[in-house]
């Protein structure tokens, strides 16, 4: 297929800017992606033409805003092939989605001695809510280890699934290693042991077509800003029968059927979890971003990023003392690395001076850094608009940095 990279790049206004007088090479897509003009315009359009509070007003603007907000929910539903829009809760992002599940679902179901299972490659956001819940409830946090390539040890996982295990949370794609976990098979294993499963999809959603019915997960979490949408909004997919059995996360306006001082009756469905006036423009921008990637096609984006991954990996391997952290068979467009004893921070600084935006540090995965015996890494992560020419610029800049630093 013809991947019209030139056109796609022109859709993103920020890509034409310079940094320190050099063209910007944006390789920090794992942290956040840039936004196409259609997303930016949709937010400005909302405020210019139909800003209004939703779900309450009888007037025209409120109805238009409510429609756009609920339409966005339907767009998210279709994008991940959820069975119903009632299964989509808007949150502030992946982190809030995970915290919501910890509080609204698991907290009341956990007793002392129960176990929560996570993996060694989790982002802190998929560790801390569970760790804190374990501390509160006297439950135990168990960890599925990763092998030297950065893949989950499935044999260990099988051993760790026990009658005590009440919940299993794991990442679909590792933000640090790029590893794509075989989510469907893993979920099947957990379900066979009667364990509820949450998938952190923050890094998977921009890189592949996700189908929650095919995965058969119970919860799936992701953020809009990692898939070319605005910050401050994300989604939590919950199977409908589970959702109806969950308690509100926060209480307040917009979540109720009736309120008296004696008793409050909550609405059914996702609105029960969206107390207060929500991020309306965020939802609208989120839906626009999904429209945008679907126009290009997730399969095409995945293929494009895979080509960049292979190309960059080959070039990087030729650099002396290069150590790529995360060499799984199945990888998304993420490359973490260190070179010799050079501190990632130094590399990041000199790359930045040359207009190359990368991530340095522990990537909110300190236990994983410990596992691989490094204080941190430099991480390049690709988006749909990156090019081979940019990889070449990056390699040149990296070689210059190495020359300066060694």
């Amino acid at each position: 297929m013809n991947y019209d990279i030139k056109k796609y790049r022109s859709d993103f206004p920020i890509l034409s800017r310079e940094v320190y007088g050099k063209p910007l090479v944006y390789f920090d897509n794992g942290a956040t992606t840039q936004k196409p003009k259609s997303v930016i315009d949709s937010i400005s359009d909302y405020y210019s033409r139909y800003n209004s509070n939703i779900h309450r007003g009888v007037h025209h603007l409120s109805q238009k805003a409510s429609f756009a907000y609920e339409n966005a929910r339907a767009t998210v539903q279709k994008h991940i092939n959820a069975n119903s829009a009632n299964e989509i809760i808007f949150t502030r992002g992946t982190t809030e989605s995970i915290n919501l599940v910890a509080y609204s679902f698991l907290r009341n179901r956990l007793t002392p001695g129960d176990e929560i299972l996570i993996t060694e490659m989790e982002h802190h956001s998929n560790i801390l809510p569970w760790q804190s819940l374990c501390e509160e409830k006297g439950a135990v946090l168990r960890i599925v280890p990763v092998n030297d390539n950065g893949e989950l040890e499935i044999a260990s996982l099988q051993k760790l699934l026990s009658p005590k295990t009440k919940f299993f949370a794991f990442t679909h794609v590792s933000n640090t290693l790029g590893t794509i976990n075989q989510a469907k098979e893993i979920i099947e294993l957990a379900h066979a042991a009667n364990i509820t499963v949450l998938v952190d999809g923050a890094q998977a959603i921009p890189h592949m077509q996700v189908d929650v019915q095919d995965l058969n997960c119970d919860f799936y979490c992701f953020s809009a800003h990692k898939i070319y949408g605005p910050t401050g909004i994300g989604a939590l997919y919950v199977k409908e029968d589970i959702l109806n059995d969950m308690i509100p996360y926060q209480t307040g306006g917009g979540t109720i059927k009736t309120v008296s001082f004696e008793k409050t009756v909550y609405v059914d469905g996702p609105l029960k979890f969206e107390a207060g006036t929500p991020n309306i423009e965020g939802a609208i921008g989120f839906a626009k971003a999904l429209d945008y990637v679907n126009e290009i096609g997730m399969e095409n984006i995945a293929m494009h990023e895979h080509k960049l991954l292979v190309y960059a990996t080959e070039k990087m391997k030729a650099i002396p003392a290069m150590r790529i952290i995360g060499t799984a068979k199945e990888k998304a467009g993420v490359i973490s690395f260190v070179v010799g004893k050079i501190h990632p921070f130094d590399l990041g600084t000199i790359l930045d001076q040359q207009g190359i935006a990368v991530r340095t540090g522990h990537h909110c995965t300190q236990p994983l850094m410990e596992r691989f015996g490094v204080p941190g890494t430099v991480r390049v992560s690709f988006g749909l608009y990156n090019t081979k020419e940019e990889v070449d610029l990056f390699i040149m800049a990296l070689e210059k940095a190495l020359k300066m630093l060694s």
Binding site: Y20, I342, H343, F345, D346, T349, I350, D352, Q353, T360, G361, P375, G376, K400, M404, L405
Partner: protein
């Protein structure tokens, strides 16, 4: 030399560089030539928070003057620390606490320092001043 005079000296040195890479190379070289801190001083209480890289600071008071020893695991950070050590060491606690550093802006590094690093730099200066202040208070009490 006063703190101000050392600052002026550094500003003059950096004014010779027109290109960013020369400036950074100078900083890197300065980092390399900074006397490493003794291993026994690399303790958690001497670690400065707020840096992406690790910075250790050990402070001594000798004959009324403060001597700083510092180190970092990142070479550019170490270069920046070396500049601060050069500016602050061999001055009285009062001089250090009162100093209003201006050289960082003048050498054209502040504009390049990202927030994470800028915060690290701010933390370093703050810690040096706090150490100087604490040693001054201690010596008064004795």
């Amino acid at each position: 030399m006063s703190i101000q005079e050392i600052e002026n000296e550094i500003v003059e040195e950096f004014s010779m560089f027109e290109q960013w890479d020369d400036k950074y190379q100078y900083l890197i070289d300065m980092g390399k030539s900074l006397t490493p801190i003794e291993e026994k001083y690399k303790t958690p209480d001497r670690l400065i928070k707020g840096c992406q890289s690790q910075v250790w600071l050990h402070t001594e008071l000798t004959g009324g003057k403060i001597i700083f020893h510092a180190d970092s695991d990142a070479i550019i950070t170490k270069g920046i620390v070396a500049l601060l050590v050069r500016v602050f060491s061999n001055h009285t606690p009062k001089e250090i606490v009162d100093a209003q550093l201006t050289f960082i802006n003048k050498i054209g590094l502040a504009e390049h320092l990202s927030p994470t690093r800028a915060n690290g730099l701010v933390s370093m200066i703050k810690q040096m001043k706090l150490d100087a202040f604490a040693l001054q208070s201690n010596s008064k009490m004795e």
